[in-house]
Symmetry: C2
Subunit: 569 residues, 2 copies
């Protein structure tokens, strides 16, 4: 293609409303434009990238036995009533009525539609397993759409659903998808990690996230430096390796602590380390109050707490409610004498000579010994893992990094097939619910994540696999007949060899063209300038290298071909 015929309105300045680098660069490279909050138009360069990502995903899904289908965007309420999610989904679901006042939603996901479809068509174990997928726009009415394509309201997803006869079948389907996802992100050429994840509201018990590593990532990932353990911090298992010493100390005693509220206050006032403080948090889970104990230097992981309790909704009690439940304010609560159920993190079991609130305003207790001084209903893994924690699988130590979730695979089990009463007949003629899995990749999010991982101050650095064009030819001066003649010939030769080439035939200064080529991130730039041309050479510059190199005209096509081949793993 020629730049004079390509719509790519590049910007010199960062748009004011863009917070993250991918949003800034997608805007500046003329790839996306906002149509409404969280709703974007993809311009030609972006559309090329999206097509390439989709094609890689499609090929790997097909290889793994997936069949591509097209499910509707507008979905009738009846299906969502069957699964119970019409109510559950809340404001995040776009809802609408048709002209006959019937309720519909815009598909945020497609478990309901696909389960109903399969239930209608597949009646025998002989027709399973079945892996159906689509690549399509999805809709979620985010309360605060932001970060450009990272959290939009209309976005492109690949979603595959697997249907198996039993858990063993699901294991196989799940593993197929796991490896297909690995293949996809390897082919795209992104640095990523697979982490154990919390499966959240979508149900099921096993789930993995595919995270593209990037400093700007929303999620914290911990991983072992010695084995391949990696997990989302929300899910990562905290190992409690404590000294086996007999735990003892003198009887607890009251100490006045005027104005002391937080763990930092306590440790400062008493001159002790925060890890000797027992933090007492009051939580309400499905209407029931709990005291939750955690070491002063740790963070409570609410998802772990919620999962342990099997609760639908939990929240930390606000000041007034704490007063009502415990009789004192938040900063003075402690476990001794509390009337509500006490849950404690595993580490609490190993504390001695601890400090905690006294349930009396302006006082704390010293020399506290758990189990001697108060009873705990259950010791649980409740804290966030941090870098330096021991690995739960080996003798290694955990490191932390940040990542962007681009793929998520779930074992759903029979959650939907049971709710929607969807079944097949097994070998013995018995009715059985399909055992399901679901597997998503955010196609438009992958594009943004690739940028978050690969950019420099000049712009995007696309991996060859998903670059909108593989090579750009820049004649320095389009009024120089010799340069133009050579550039045009090279352009035609590259196209003929199947290279996705862009010819910058604009009447612009070379500096402007170089800036644009860098900004839009084309992997290979071939500069056709007067000096090198006289020497029978052209300059090849790789986007990720600072300097270009001169290549003989007789070699340039082969060099480009081999460069592309090398990059496309």
């Amino acid at each position: 293609m020629r730049t004079t015929q390509l719509l790519f309105p590049t910007l010199r300045e960062d748009p004011s409303d863009a917070e993250v680098i991918s949003h800034k660069l997608l805007m500046r490279a003329g790839m996306i434009r906002k149509t409404a909050g969280g709703i974007y138009t993809y311009l030609p360069l972006a559309f090329r990238v999206l097509k390439k990502i989709s094609q890689i995903v499609r090929e790997e899904m097909d290889k793994a036995g997936g069949q591509e289908v097209g499910l509707p965007i507008v979905q009738p309420r009846e299906l969502w009533d069957q699964s119970g999610r019409w109510q559950l989904y809340g404001d995040e679901m776009f809802r609408l009525k048709d002209r006959h006042q019937r309720d519909f939603c815009l598909g945020p996901t497609h478990e309901e539609v696909i389960t109903a479809l399969v239930d209608g068509e597949v009646h025998s174990y002989r027709d399973l397993p079945l892996l159906l997928y689509q690549i399509q726009d999805k809709f979620r009415d985010e309360i605060r759409p932001r970060f450009g394509l990272m959290r939009g309201r209309e976005f492109i997803m690949k979603d595959l659903y697997s249907f198996d006869v039993d858990e063993d079948g699901l294991d196989i389907s799940y593993r197929k998808m796991y490896f297909a996802y690995q293949a996809i992100f390897e082919r795209i050429g992104l640095d990523f990690r697979v982490v154990e994840a919390d499966s959240g509201a979508i149900g099921g018990n096993v789930s993995h996230e595919f995270m593209v590593l990037a400093g700007s990532g929303e999620s914290v990932i911990v991983y072992c430096d010695q084995c391949n353990y990696a997990a989302n911090v929300e899910k990562a298992e905290a190992v409690c390796k404590m000294p086996e010493d007999a735990l003892q100390c003198g009887a607890y005693e009251l100490v006045a602590s005027p104005g002391v509220r937080t763990v930092d206050d306590v440790s400062g006032f008493l001159g002790i380390k925060p890890e000797r403080v027992i933090k007492t948090l009051i939580y309400v889970a499905d209407g029931q109050p709990y005291a939750v104990l955690i070491r002063g230097d740790r963070e409570l992981n609410e998802i772990k707490l919620k999962n342990h309790l099997g609760a639908t909704e939990i929240f930390m009690a606000p000041e007034e409610m704490v007063q009502e439940i415990t009789g004192v304010s938040i900063g003075s609560v402690g476990p001794i004498g509390l009337k509500i159920k006490i849950l404690a993190d595993l580490e609490i079991r190993h504390m001695a000579d601890a400090v905690c609130g006294a349930n009396r305003p302006e006082y704390h207790l010293l020399h506290v010994l758990p189990e001697r001084d108060f009873k705990v209903a259950e010791y649980l893994d409740l804290r966030n893992v941090v870098a330096g924690d021991p690995c739960p699988h080996c003798a290694g130590e955990l490191k932390a990094t940040r990542g962007i979730e681009v793929g998520h695979i779930f074992k759903l089990g029979t959650k939907y097939s049971q709710a929607m009463n969807a079944w097949f007949l097994d070998e013995d003629g018995n009715k059985r619910h399909y055992v399901m899995g679901c597997y998503g990749i955010g196609i438009s999010r992958v594009m943004a994540a690739a940028i978050e991982q690969r950019y420099d101050k000049n712009g995007i650095i696309w991996p060859m696999s998903i670059a909108p064009f593989q090579a750009i030819i820049v004649p320095v001066n389009v009024k120089d007949v010799q340069q133009v003649t050579y550039a045009e010939q090279l352009y035609r030769d590259l196209i003929a060899r199947g290279v996705e080439a862009l010819l910058d035939d604009r009447e612009e200064r070379a500096g402007v063209k170089f800036k644009d080529a860098d900004l839009i991130g084309i992997p290979l730039r071939i500069t056709v300038g007067p000096k090198s041309l006289q020497q029978g050479k052209v300059e090849l510059k790789r986007r990720w290298e600072a300097e270009g190199e001169l290549i003989a005209q007789s070699d340039i096509i082969e060099v480009i071909m081999s460069e592309i081949k090398k990059e496309l793993r």
Copy 2:
């Protein structure tokens, strides 16, 4: 692919709610399933066909200089207020509110979004022309969705929009699209005609429809048997070739006509041909009443009338209103003595000794001579053309046929760019509105139309270009090792040669497999049976031929390759 791994739940019976053949066969071939009224799921076979149609369309759009983009489905009301269509579009537009109660619609078309985009990014005549397109789901809340994919509420469209500096530029863009569309339907291999069409509410004055010829088509097309004139009957020009005789007759006279109401009544009662009767119709256009005269044997074309009047809304006055306007009932109205404006079809000018209503109950007038007996404000082309009419372009005669609209191209002019105040600077630095065109192809409709044109009692007959698979291999007995071994080898060889082959490896009777192969319409069927195998042969049957032929095993691959090549024009 193997049939055991393909979801194609074929049905033996026509579904009860399917009225047209494409709906019946798409359902029976296991290609689509209904999710809600007018909303369908595309199963794997259908999705393959849709991908092929899309790819052909994409290639031709790219060749014509189109750039593919992705525009949002959910569109903010503000854009539609600018064009004035938020009000105009009525109930056919799906509307919704987001969580902040802001108004959005589901894109039924994208003029607004694309005009706003281009207005924001393209400011100079140097960046024009610009041709942007997308292939995407569109939404129209049809009052009565029916005929399967022919009139759905969620359907797939390719829509391209052209932006030019002036009308001459638009002419070029329009012509590019015209030829691209011809290329598309030729490549797909459908029998089609391009017709002049009414551009309706979308605006502009020039428009062509691409019609796939099929007996079940909703539209009547007339075409010349001697030149390439063709037009939608709504638009076709009626030529009035009448004798040049001096028109004369005796003075008109009143005749009692008790119980005579319709043209048929009149001609029966008086024993004259209907073409001697003047039919007087009362119409109301934007609140204004008109008498419209047309020959008794003709049909009024309301669209022509509406366009001539430049009216927004017209309707035929009901009985009560006719009484109020003329003082008599519908069957007695005539032009003589009427107080409202009279419009007449061209043919009325050439009538003499005509019969018409007397504006007096139970009476008619004989020997009526237009212009002598009543004045006509305007003679216009108001009637429907019929087969046998003279061609307006040559000496030929028009024929009539039926067609399905699969493509429609429009010159929009500045309708949208003016309404939305979208402009660029021309060579002289003056603000100018973009001159636009829009060009649509119903991708999912093409799939249905192809079936309406190509089927027999056994099922679909896909053209090679868009067939879900090019060839199907049917081993007669999958328990026969020799057959299976040969079929598997042939399958692998064909795949290796790039043939889209399907292997029917199901444990079913040969009859069932043949029925399914016919039903889903695979162009080439290779049957591997015991007898032919012993002779070193296999049977090749083309879907559109009654009988197969035996081909030597050594030749079969080359025969298949050349057959595919021949079919793919």
